[in-house]
Amino acid sequence: MDAFTYFAMSWLSPELLGLTALGTFLGIYVGAIPGLSVTMAVSILISFTFSWDVNYALCLMVGVYMGGVYGGSRTAILLNIPGAPSAIATALDGYPLAKKGLAGEAIGLSTVMSVVGGFVGIIVLALAAPTVSEFAITFQPRDYMMLGILGIMLVGSLSGNSLARGIFAGALGLLIGTVGLDPMTADERFTFGVIELWDGINPVAVMIGMFGISEALHQLHHMNKAVVKQKIARIIPKWSDIKKYMPLSLQTSFIGVIVGALPGTGGDIAALMAYDHAKRTTKNPKVPFGQGAKEGLIAPEAANNAAVGGAYIPMLTLGIPGDAVTAVFIGALFIHGLNPGPLLLLEQPHMFWFTVGNLTLANIFVLIFGLTGIKLFSKIVECPKGILIPLIFLLSIVGAYAINNAIIDIWWMLAFGVFGYFMRLYGFPVGPVILGVILSSLTDENWRRAILTERGSVSDLFINTLQSPLSATLFSIIVLILVSQTPLWTKWLKPKLFRR
C-alpha cells in the first residue's frame, strides 16, 4: 500500500505535522485580514523555505492555503469585511447573524461546513482527479462566457427588495470591471492616460471599501444604540443542525470542486454560485436570505473550501493551475527541482498521495483552530463603537495597501467606501457591484474569444453551442433560469402543469 504510506507521511512525522499545523494557523489569520491574500503569503513562503526540503515547504504552504481560504470568513462574519473575494457571499448572511448576537454560532457553523466542503474537495481529488481535469480543460471560451452570464444572473439573488436597483448596481460593477487595458487589444479603456489604471481597479479594494468602510460609516448613524450582547453559550453547532444542512453543504461542495477545478474560475465565483444555489433551492428559510439565513452562510463556506481540492486537480494531474494559489505552488515545485506537469505523478509518485494526506491534515487543523478562540473573537463585535469603527478603518487601510503595496488602492478603497455608504443610504445593494467587478473580465474576454473563434458570426456561435453537449447544457440552464422567472411560466404554465 504505497498510497497509504505517502498519505500518512505528514501525519507520522512530527516536523511535518507541526509545520502543517503552523501553516494552517498562520493561514487563518492571513486569510482573515482583508488584502493579505493567500497567494501573497504562499509566494513569500517560497523565498522563506528556499533552502528547506520540498516536503517541509509544501506542508507549510498547504496549511496556509487551507487555513487562508477558511479564514476569509472570520472578518466577513464579525466586521462585514470579507477577508478575500471568496468570502463575499459569506458576509451577506454571516454579518447579519453577528448583529443578532449569534456570531459564535455563525463561526462555529461556518467552520464545520468549511471542513465538510474541504473534505468533499479532497475526496474528489483523491478519487476522480484525472477524470475531472480532462473534463475541466474541455471548457471552451463560450462555456466560460456562459458561466459568466450565469454568475451575472446571481444579481437576482443579491438584490434584496428591488431588482431594478440590483441590476443597476450590477451593471455599475461590470462597468468598473472594464477599466484598464483591453485584455484583447491592449487599448486603454477609461484610463485617462494614467498607467496605474492599466490593470484596472482592484476588485479587492472595491470589496473592502463597499463592505467594510461603508458599514463603518453606516454604524455612525447608530452611535448611541447599545451593542448587541453576543450569545456564546453554543459554539459547536447542534447535531440536528448539521444533519439538516448536510445535503445543502454537500451540493454546494460539488459546485465548489468543479468551479475550483476549472482553470479559468476560482473560489470566489464558486462561493457566489453556491449562495445562489442555496437561495434557489431553500423553499422556506426560517430567516430570509440577507438577514441571517444559515443556509446563506453554509453554502459559500462549503463551496470555497471545496474549491481548494478542486484547484489541485488540474495542478497535480496536468501541471495546469486551478487558481492563483496553485499557480504559485507550481512555481514552488520548479524551484525545488521538481517538474510540475502531466508527468509529475510518474516521476514523483509520492507527490499525489502526500498532497492528499497533507490537505486532509490541514483540513482537520482548520476544524481544531477554527473552533477554538471563537468566544474571544465574538467579543470583537461587542467592542464599543468608538473603538470598533476606527479598528475597521485601520484594518481596511492596511488591507487595501497590502493588495499590491500601492497607495492608490487605499484611495480607491476609501472612495468606494463612501460611495457604498451612499448606496446603502438610498437602498441600493452593494453585493451586485462586487459581483459585476469580479465577473466583468471573465465574461468580456470569453465572449470575445468565442466570437473571434467564429470569425464574428453569431449564428455559427449559436450552432456550435447547441452541438457541444457541455455548451448546450449550460445554455439550457441559463434559458431555464430565465424562463422560470417570467410571467409565462409563473402565471400560466406552472399552475397548469402542477395543478393537483
Binding site: T39, M40, V42, S43, I46, S47, F50, S51, I137, T138, F139, Q140, P141, L181, P183, M184, T185, A186, I195, E196, W198, D199, P263, G264, L318, G319, I320, P321, A324, A327, V328, F329, I330, G331, F334, I335, G337, N339, P340, G341, P342, L343, L344, N404, N405, E445, R449, L452, T453, R455
Partner: protein, 331 residues
C-alpha cells in the same frame, strides 16, 4: 540658522558618501515585474538567495505586476538611484516605446545582469493534421481562416513570432488573445485553439507527456531538450536574419546609481547563475543562461529592441516608428 542647515547638509552628504564605501549597508528591495507564480517570478526567487549570500544583505522581493511591466519600471525609476532598489524584469519594456505604452525602456536604466534567454517554439494541438512547419503552412494555405492561433497581446512573444512568420509567408488564420502563455497552452490542450507560439519552458512538460506537439523551434539550431524538432530556418531560411531571438530575464537599476553599487551588484549577479540548483532549474525549463553584464548586456538589449521594434513596425501594429526613438534598423 542657515549655517547649521548647511553644516547639517554637508554632514549628511558626507555621511552618505562615506556609507557608500560599504554598500550594501541595508536590505535591498527587489521589484519583480510579473505576478507570483509566473516564470519571471520563479527565476528571480531562485536567484535571489544566491545573490543575498554574495552581498551579505537580504533582498526583499515584491511583485509589482501590471501595465505589461510599465508599472514596475515607473516605480523603480521613482525611487532613489542608490542601488537599493532592483528591477527584476522580463523583455516586455523593450517594446513599450514603439507600441506607445510608456516612454521608458531598458535603455533608460543600467543593466546589472541579463540572466537567461528563452527559446520560442511553435506548439500545436495533439490531433492537428500537421506535424512540421511546412505541413502547417500548407494546411493553413489550403484552409484559409480555419486555423486558430493563440496569442498574448501586442508586443508579446507570440505577436513577434507571428510578425516574423508574416514577413516570410502570408497566412490567413484567426488570432485569439489570452492573458498569458499559461492560459493559452491550457486552451490548446482543450482544443479551443490549434496553434500557440510560446517559450519552450512553458510547454516542455506537456510536450514530453504527449499532450501537445512541437512543430518547430524558432531558432537557428535544434534544442537539446527536443532534438527531434526541426528549427524554423529549415523551412524558412530567411528567418535567420531575426534569430536567435527570445524573451529574457534581467536585473536593472535606475540610471545615476553610483558605480560602486553597480559594480558590486554586477559581481554578485555574475557568480549566482553558476550555482547548481539554478543551472538545473534553467536547464529543465529550457532557458539558456546568458549571464551578461556591462557592455555585453547593453549590446544584447539593443539588438533585441532593434529586431523586435522593426518587426512589429513592419507588421503594422506599432504605434510609432522605431526611428522616432533612434532605434537603428537591424543589420
Amino acid at each position: 540658522m542657515k549655517k547649521t542647515t548647511i553644516t547639517l547638509l554637508a554632514a549628511l552628504s558626507l555621511s552618505s558618501t562615506a556609507s557608500f564605501a560599504e554598500y550594501p549597508s541595508k536590505d535591498l528591495q527587489g521589484v519583480i515585474m510579473w505576478g507570483a507564480g509566473g516564470s519571471t517570478d520563479t527565476v528571480m526567487r531562485s536567484i535571489a538567495p544566491h545573490v543575498e549570500d554574495a552581498l551579505g544583505q537580504d533582498i526583499i522581493l515584491t511583485n509589482k505586476s501590471g501595465g505589461v511591466g510599465a508599472i514596475s519600471m515607473k516605480y523603480v525609476n521613482k525611487k532613489k538611484a542608490d542601488g537599493y532598489t532592483l528591477l527584476m524584469g522580463a523583455e516586455n519594456p523593450q517594446m513599450h516605446k514603439v507600441l506607445g505604452l510608456s516612454n521608458l525602456d531598458y535603455s533608460d536604466m543600467i543593466p546589472i545582469s541579463i540572466l537567461a534567454r528563452g527559446t520560442p517554439m511553435i506548439m500545436a494541438r495533439n490531433d492537428a493534421p500537421y506535424d512540421t512547419m511546412q505541413e502547417f503552412i500548407d494546411y493553413t494555405k489550403a484552409n484559409p481562416g480555419k486555423v486558430k492561433i493563440g496569442s498574448t497581446g501586442k508586443g508579446g512573444l507570440t505577436s513577434i513570432v507571428l510578425a516574423m512568420l508574416e514577413s516570410q509567408v502570408k497566412l490567413d488564420y484567426i488570432s485569439i488573445p489570452y492573458k498569458g502563455d499559461g492560459p493559452a497552452l491550457t486552451a490548446l490542450q482543450g482544443g479551443a485553439i490549434d496553434v500557440m507560439p510560446a517559450v519552450l519552458g512553458a510547454a516542455i512538460e506537456q510536450i514530453k507527456a504527449g499532450r501537445m506537439k512541437a512543430i518547430s523551434t524558432v531558432d537557428v539550431e535544434r534544442n537539446e531538450l527536443l532534438p527531434d524538432v526541426a528549427p524554423i530556418t529549415d523551412t524558412l531560411p530567411e528567418m535567420k536574419s531575426y534569430l536567435p531571438w527570445g524573451p529574457f530575464f534581467g536585473v536593472f537599476v535606475k540610471k545615476g546609481t553610483p558605480d560602486e553599487a553597480v559594480q558590486k551588484l554586477s559581481a554578485a549577479f555574475k557568480e549566482a547563475p553558476f550555482k547548481p540548483d539554478f543551472v538545473d532549474l534553467m536547464e529543465k525549463r529550457g532557458f539558456t543562461i546568458m549571464n551578461y553584464t556591462g557592455e555585453e548586456a547593453r549590446y544584447f538589449l539593443d539588438a533585441y529592441r532593434s529586431t523586435s521594434s522593426w518587426l512589429v513596425y513592419n507588421a503594422g501594429f506599432s504605434k510609432f516608428s522605431p526611428e522616432k526613438f533612434g532605434i537603428k534598423k537591424p543589420e
